[in-house]
């Protein structure tokens, strides 16, 4: 069993310079290690820093202290010290992220948004779109939506686009932020199946699951972020 993502004494504190340097501690001293095939659920009340932790794992937020390491192509890459193009390579091939809110390039069709991660891996446009179509079908997104940009979609539809986009390359490490928040029961089940499939393929999954049922269905372990609130 190999660890695919680790944190070492990870801490995050926001400093709001616009408010006279006000410090907002989020969490501190987090040590995590997630193995291939595991699904770690981050728990804690709203505002406890779960999303922030997930963003730190993606490199979207910088660590205030400590480190985040990803197992990338057989080596450990530290997100804090890696050059931007290295982080990009990690994100392209190893690290997938399904954000809570869809923020994608405007004016690009849903199909192309979902196909894009495959294109970045060198897959042909035709093949990538074909696979994207399959994912969208699986997530019950009607075909007539595929050629539209998702900006006008409902919350649930946007979320499913997000999921397809984040999971289509079957990344070894997968980060999920509230992936079922706006979905109905049927689609929740689809997502649960997808997570199971990812784990079965050997991916390490770290997720925030608002829905207890979903969490119970997918998580192998839980981690309470709230316990790590106090700064050192």
């Amino acid at each position: 069993m190999t660890a695919l993502i680790e944190t070492i004494a990870l801490s995050k504190t926001f400093t709001l310079h616009g408010r006279g340097g006000l410090q907002l501690p989020v969490f501190s001293g987090i040590d995590l290690s997630v193995q291939a095939g595991e699904c770690l659920a981050l728990t804690g009340h709203s505002g406890s820093g779960k999303s922030s932790l997930l963003r730190c794992l993606y490199g979207n937020y910088g660590a205030s202290s400590g480190d985040v390491r990803i197992r990338h192509l057989g080596d450990w890459v530290s997100l804090s010290s890696a050059a931007p193009r290295e982080v990009f390579d990690v994100r392209r091939r190893t690290l997938g992220y399904v954000s809570q809110f869809l923020r994608v390039i405007p004016r690009v069709s849903t199909l192309d948004i979902v196909a894009d991660p495959l294109r970045r891996l060198g897959v042909s446009a035709e093949e990538a779109r074909a696979q994207a179509a399959q994912w969208l079908k699986r997530l019950n997104l009607h075909e007539h939506l595929w050629h539209l940009p998702p900006a006008t979609f409902s919350g649930g539809e946007q979320q499913r686009v997000n999921i397809a986009h984040g999971m289509i390359t079957a990344p070894p490490v997968l980060l999920l932020d509230e992936p079922t928040a706006s979905l109905d029961a049927d689609n929740r089940r689809v997502v649960v199946d997808l997570i199971h499939a990812a784990r079965a393929q050997g991916s390490a999954v770290v997720g925030i699951f608002h829905d207890d049922e979903v969490r119970e269905a997918v998580a192998t372990r839980c981690f309470d972020v709230e316990q790590h609130r106090q700064p050192i």
């Binding site: 310079h17 616009g18 963003r55 979207n60 910088g62």
Partner: protein
């Protein structure tokens, strides 16, 4: 094969003398740019970003530090290694600017020949490099105009008859015809209508992707940076106050000025 650095800025600085005292328009800027990377240089007026761009493109000489570029050796695609631009002859620099570099100006009028047709504008670099077949030049021009989504029926029209957005597209085509590896862009969408800006950004994004261009994009618009660039430099009063991954800098700004910039952006 490990990719090598394409453009390297090392403690680059430029001072202008004002009332006897040097005033540093830009100072101590360092970064390494790799093939295919897009770097946004963001800042407000007076930040030094435009000066930096001109220093990188060797349009101004550095007062401090140096700019290095991976010049292709004359034979095929061999690399001659990183060369200090200050050591290149003017002839070589001008040749570089015409072949391996592009420079998209903020105002298309500064980057186009307004008194010759669109087709002539696109074909000029090729003619400067020795292309002597009219028919081929014309088909190259047509092909590039299609690529930048310009109506090829306007190929013989003067750029003065084009709209602002079309002029910018023509400028882009003119620069890309020699397949440069590095493109400098100075506020490429500023001043255009919002919808025109949006389409132009889409085009730039696609071209950068498709052609694996490296680019340095100067902009005051954070949305442009987010859309086009993987990396970002934030400048204030001639200094780089923050740099890193674009999404990290925009979503988790550390420096007071960056936080101010990010929070100042109006979102509709």
């Amino acid at each position: 094969m490990k990719p090598s650095v394409l453009l390297s800025a090392r403690q680059v600085g430029k001072a202008f003398v004002h009332q006897g005292q040097p005033r540093w328009a830009c100072r101590d800027v360092s970064f390494d740019l790799y093939p295919g990377e897009v770097l946004a240089v963001v800042g407000e007026s007076g930040s030094g970003k435009s000066t930096l761009l001109r220093l990188l493109a060797a349009r101004l000489a550095c007062d401090e530090g140096s700019v290095h570029y991976d010049v292709r050796a004359e034979s095929e695609n061999e690399s001659a290694g990183l060369v200090d631009l200050a050591e290149l002859s003017e002839a070589r620099l001008r040749w570089l600017a015409r072949t391996d570099w592009g420079f998209v100006e903020q105002h298309a009028r500064d980057g186009l020949r307004m008194n010759v047709s669109g087709g002539a504008n696109v074909g000029e670099r090729l003619m400067a490099l020795g292309a002597r077949h009219y028919g081929n030049l014309r088909s190259e021009a047509v092909s590039w105009m299609q690529r930048v989504e310009l109506d090829t029926g306007r190929i013989d029209d003067l750029p003065a008859t084009y709209s602002g957005g079309m002029q910018q597209r023509l400028q882009i085509a003119r620069n890309l015809v020699t397949h440069p590896r590095l493109v400098f862009m100075d506020e490429p969408t500023t001043g255009l209508d919002v919808s025109v800006q949006a389409r132009l950004l889409d085009l730039l994004r696609e071209l950068v992707d498709e052609l694996q261009l490296a680019a340095v994009v100067v902009t005051h618009d954070l949305a442009v940076a987010r859309l086009l660039a993987q990396r970002m430099l934030v400048m204030k009063d001639g200094c780089v106050v923050e740099q890193g991954l674009t999404d990290r800098v925009l979503d988790d700004p550390q420096h007071p000025y960056t936080q101010l910039l990010v929070s100042s952006v109006l979102t509709p």
